[in-house]
């Protein structure tokens, strides 16, 4: 059981890191590496998308290995994160649309918010149940 968990966690780590690397390539590659060549940019985005799908499947595979309490902890954390992200995301978009902030509302901030919220929710729920 522990060996299988380790294997699935490592698979998820592999897909996550390759996704991060291909995302960085697709983001900075057009300017730094291939001088805005559209074909290479499309290829980089396609590879990143395929990597993202691999990451999602690896995450599902790991999730399916969790026992009932671990699933409960993760599902409760995801539910809270989803709700908080919709509410905060829309408020963030509104302050941009109404020009309360000078800069544009960037999706990166929302992704960061989702990550931090999920991590905190996991920590709190683990403390509650474990």
């Amino acid at each position: 059981m522990k060996e299988e968990r380790k294997k699935r966690t490592l698979q998820l780590a592999f897909w996550t890191w390759t996704w991060v690397i291909t995302l960085a390539m697709a983001t900075f590659g057009p300017k730094i590496l291939w001088a805005e060549n559209n074909l290479l940019t499309a290829l980089a985005i396609g590879i990143n998308l395929a990597n993202g799908i691999g990451m999602i499947l690896a995450n599902r595979k790991l999730f399916n290995h969790y026992d009932e309490l671990e699933r409960k902890i993760h599902l409760e954390s995801m539910a809270f994160t989803l709700g908080a992200s919709v509410v905060v995301g829309l408020s963030y978009s509104l302050i941009d649309q109404t020009n309360l902030i000078n800069a544009d509302a960037e999706i990166g901030f929302l992704v960061m918010f989702i990550g931090i919220t999920y991590m905190l929710a996991l920590l709190i729920n683990r403390k509650r149940y474990l």
Binding site: E68, L69, E70, Y129
Partner: protein, 65 residues
């Protein structure tokens, strides 16, 4: 829900790790059940009943609060 899982597990001479291994959950989950922080699913309760050789209602007790 109240339970006698810890008492029955110890009577069987099992560690939390061993009981978890047998029924397919983690040691932490067994610990959470024993501390009554988490109520297990029916399949898990039935697996425990098989190990303890007792009907479920003799070691899980429903409480309204």
């Amino acid at each position: 829900m109240k339970n006698r899982v810890q008492e029955l597990r110890k009577a069987k001479g099992l560690t939390q790790e061993q009981l978890g291994e047998i029924i397919g959950v983690s040691r932490q989950t067994i610990n959470a059940i024993e501390k009554e922080k988490f109520d297990p699913s029916l399949p898990t309760a039935f697996k425990m009943a098989e190990i303890f050789n007792l009907p479920i209602e003799q070691f899980f007790f429903f409480t309204k609060d």
